[in-house]
């Protein structure tokens, strides 16, 4: 599927992006890739010392997933600005209790175009985004600004 949205208009929706249930292995892989080894994200005993039952995902991992949603839609060369505010902790799925914990660990990223404008001769749009888990807990809200190009955006399922 390509060219789901041939034109960007106010109210245009970004194709919904659904992550895999986030596992502790995903967190370790992100820790290695980003270099963010805050033990809060991989060491259960550290999480316990600050009153948490589980390790939690890096806020920046959730933002990176949102980034993946955006670049799957419009291509990252078109992004001018990207902002996120982190709202809630995300716990990974427990393999020994998968069915009951997968929804808390699955992130859905949605977006809607709210503004079209011209700056320095470039036609731009602003899109509000939200990332929430399948239980409806909002993890991140934010926005991005990108160039309106003539080419149809790529679809996430491409």
């Amino acid at each position: 599927m390509t060219g789901q949205h041939n034109t960007i208009e106010i109210g245009s929706e970004m194709p919904e992006y659904i992550s895999l249930p986030i596992t502790r292995t995903h967190l370790v892989r992100y820790a290695g890739a980003s270099g963010d080894f805050n033990p809060l994200h991989h060491d259960q005993t550290f999480a316990n010392t600050i009153g948490l039952q589980n390790v939690i995902a890096h806020g920046m991992f959730i933002m990176a997933i949102a980034g993946e949603a955006i670049t799957s839609w419009i291509g990252n060369k078109n992004i001018k600005k990207f902002h996120s505010r982190f709202l809630a902790k995300t716990e990974p799925v427990d393999w020994d209790n998968f069915e009951n914990t997968k929804d808390r660990a699955t992130i859905v990223v949605k977006g809607k175009v709210i503004r079209l404008f011209v700056e320095n001769g470039e036609k731009l749009f602003e899109c509000k985004i939200v990332a929430e888990n399948l239980l409806g807990s909002k993890k991140l809200s934010g926005s991005f600004i990108a160039v309106v190009t003539g080419e149809p955006p790529r679809d996430v399922n491409e």
């Binding site: 290695g32 080894f37 980034g67």
Partner: protein, 154 residues
């Protein structure tokens, strides 16, 4: 508790190379894949990147933050320099502005400073917010991106 006398403090600049394999590793991690042939080809195949209109292999939008952790003094250095308790640290907001394309092979100098430290609330219910701003400058001395990080101590 963050020390407000540190407002305006500049961290030593650090320089890093945008490594192609580091981009691949990052792209695999954030798309929850296992290997490079599963990620978008622009992140590992120069021909695909050029066909998509890039001059080289591009970086994912949040990639630059990783430079914070493995250049300079990293997370531990930052919290120590600012007097922040790691156990109370929360990342509240992150913002990037992109001015010029960044590709594998670029040499980026990051310059980080403490833009602001704000105390909110009274007594035991205070909340410290520390705002860090980073400028990213490439080998041609172009300002390619900026980021702004808001940290809180709860």
């Amino acid at each position: 508790m963050a020390d407000q006398s540190k407002i305006g403090m500049e961290f030593p600049a650090s320089t890093f190379i945008i490594e192609k394999d580091k981009i691949i590793e990052f792209a695999i991690a954030v798309s929850q894949k296992e290997m490079k042939n599963q990620i978008h080809p622009v992140y590992h195949d120069e021909k695909a990147a050029k066909a998509a209109g890039y001059e080289g292999i591009p970086i994912p939008p949040t990639f630059l933050t990783s430079s914070f952790f493995w250049t300079g003094d990293g997370l531990t250095g930052m919290v120590t320099a600012l007097g922040i308790n790691l156990k109370r640290l929360l990342h509240r907001e992150e913002e990037y502005e992109y001015f010029c394309p960044i590709h594998a092979g670029d040499i980026i100098t990051r310059k980080m400073k403490v833009a602001d430290i704000i105390k909110k609330g009274k007594g035991a219910r205070t909340l410290d917010m520390t705002i860090l701003e980073v400028e990213y400058i490439n080998q041609r001395n172009e300002l390619v991106a900026k980021s702004r990080t808001t940290l809180t101590e709860i």
